[in-house]
Subunit: 342 residues, 2 copies
DNA sequence: TTGAAAGCGCTAACAC
DNA sequence: GTGTTAGCGCTTTCAA
């Protein structure tokens, strides 16, 4: 018994498929007489009719599906940042009646975004979350590709350019400055910056901000005190060893650029038996959901990741539903979350 | 400039749409002559042609989309168990060329599954992950609904019935027995069980197993030593207070039924200033990715959640692609992961 | 080898 | 008001 379709109902009741479609979908329209409608509804229920969303979507030229693009090799679901953003996205999608399509990475390195663009004929638009593996070049390339393909999208994080796109992020230069300010006002003179990679957009912004902030306190950020771990634990340990073996120039405070780096730092602190903040102060960027479970509780400049997802989805759906609107670039405020480490 | 379609290419090259479809999709078939094919391919590339997956899907009656159903009110992306399973699912989907559709919860309580079944006309099949909020009744109801709707699916976790469905889980009775065995052999006589809710399928299985295991050591699991927190922190604290205020009958070991309960227990232990395992031993079920970040590191009976997701997806896709196959019920082995708490 | 044509199941424009 | 019809963009027989 194949699934009943619109025309089956039509045949049974003795009306046109159009009438059935109308009766079923356009609630209180006048297009169908009340008793004909009742008959149709009853038949549909009896036959256990469910619409074929696919056919519907093809005819309406819209799927109410948004695609998620995460240019990242790692499994995306373990990343707290992404988890937060996804929750925010979901909250909007739920409210507006959309669903989320998660593309499986193609496996062919570099081609992911392109492939996902192709698949996107299945979706009404794309949400892009930039992660620590996106260079500034990657990001602008992607933007161009999407623009020329005429695909609607909305981007989260790590784009500091000026192209007119839907974007939600934070002002990382400002965040860096705030970090410098905070630590310097606490009396720290030797402040180190633990980062991922010097080529990351966020790294550049944060560094800029740190320098600006420090210079207001008559301080500097010498390159020996900027450590790029490439997100490798080993490398992080090497860098930290260098900092802490050098008794004379040992930093008294460390600012970490993201969650992963903070975890490595915690591991190091535990391994070396340091006390925080006695031996060294720690200030972290990000790490939203993590703060609760870490001991000691990190002092952080928290990024509103959930809200970012929520907003990005909102902006995208707005653009889809009323194509006249302008694209927006939104920078959300960050917040100091007190912990015991700085 | 609307997106070019098959017929645009056909018109331009001067062939039928069928020829274009063949040339583009059926690689080395003999249906199209080599130079005609070359021409078609070139034209397609020049015009920047991407197929409309929607139309394709409608014609082929398959989307290569799998839907995810999580009957849970909470944001699903924060649940480590689900995150693990999702990663496993993704790994299979990637290998087999499918994508994942995440339904947004409808908001109407109780209707979620039904709604998602309707939406499922968009997908080739459904993956269901049962969580701690699923009663045994919920699960069987869902199974029946899906069966009568003729929807293919594959279920993860918490179904201990015998219906012939694709299912991946662990033998929780056996796990409970193993827990009892482990703790009893370490000399514990007063073993308590911290669980979520007495109505959960897993609770029943675990209890059964614990009792079986304990009785082999001449021990019992009195009802005072089974605590159901309803996953509320307050309630957990009340129960634990009762256990620890009663000096005479204080448990020397606690077995926790899942990750969330373990976290509450850790909070309690910290708040009350207990030492583990000196004051009390802790053995946890599950908590795969969490173990690394918790201090002290929990001793756990680890469930292969990633593998569960991987397998569930595999089984579902197999059934979709060769409908003759039988459905399978797979119970995966759990493993003792040593920590410092028991 | 190739082209024409009939769907896939639904919506929406257009007659009646 | 109600029914008819022409698509949506692609795949796949079936003739030629």
């Amino acid at each position: 018994m194949a699934a009943p379709k619109l025309s089956d109902i039509a045949k049974r009741v003795g009306v046109s498929t159009a009438a059935v479609s109308l009766a079923l979908n356009k609630g209180e329209t006048t297009r169908v007489g009340p008793k004909k409608r009742a008959e149709i509804l009853r038949a549909a229920a009896e036959m256990g009719y469910y619409p074929n969303e696919l056919a519907k979507a093809l005819a309406e030229r819209r799927t109410r599906l948004l695609g998620l693009v995460v240019p990242l090799r790692d499994p995306i679901f373990f990343n707290q940042f992404i988890a937060q953003a996804l929750s925010g996205i979901q909250s909007t999608l739920m409210r507006r009646g959309y669903n989320l399509l998660i593309f499986s990475p193609s496996g062919k390195p570099g081609r992911e975004t392109r492939d996902q663009i192709m698949e996107s004929r299945f979706t009404d638009g794309l949400i892009l979350i930039n992660t620590r593996s996106c260079t500034s070049q990657d990001v602008t390339d992607t933007i161009n590709e999407l623009k020329t393909a005429g695909i609607r999208f909305s981007m989260i994080n790590s784009y500091y350019g000026r192209a007119p796109i839907n974007y939600v992020g934070v002002d990382d230069a400002k965040l860096g400055e705030a970090a410098a300010n905070y630590l310097a006002s606490k009396g720290h003179r030797k402040i180190a910056f633990l980062s991922g990679s010097a080529t990351l957009p966020a790294h550049l912004e944060l560094t800029k901000g740190l320098q600006r902030g420090l210079s207001k306190h008559g301080l500097k950020l010498p390159s020996e005190r900027v450590g790029c771990t490439q997100y490798e634990r080993e490398r992080a340990f090497t860098i930290l060893d260098e900092w802490f073996d050098n008794k004379r120039d040992q930093p008294t405070a460390i600012f970490t650029a993201d969650e992963q780096l903070l975890l490595h730092l915690y591991d190091y602190i535990e391994a070396r038996g340091l006390s925080v903040p006695e031996d060294v102060s720690v200030l972290a960027r990000g790490n939203v959901g993590l703060g609760d479970r870490l001991r000691p509780r990190p002092t952080s400049l928290v990024i509103p990741t959930f809200r970012m997802g929520e907003l990005a989805a909102e902006m995208l759906i707005d653009e889809i539903e009323k194509p006249n609107g302008k694209s927006q670039r939104v920078l959300l405020p960050f917040e100091l979350a007190p912990g015991t480490t700085a």
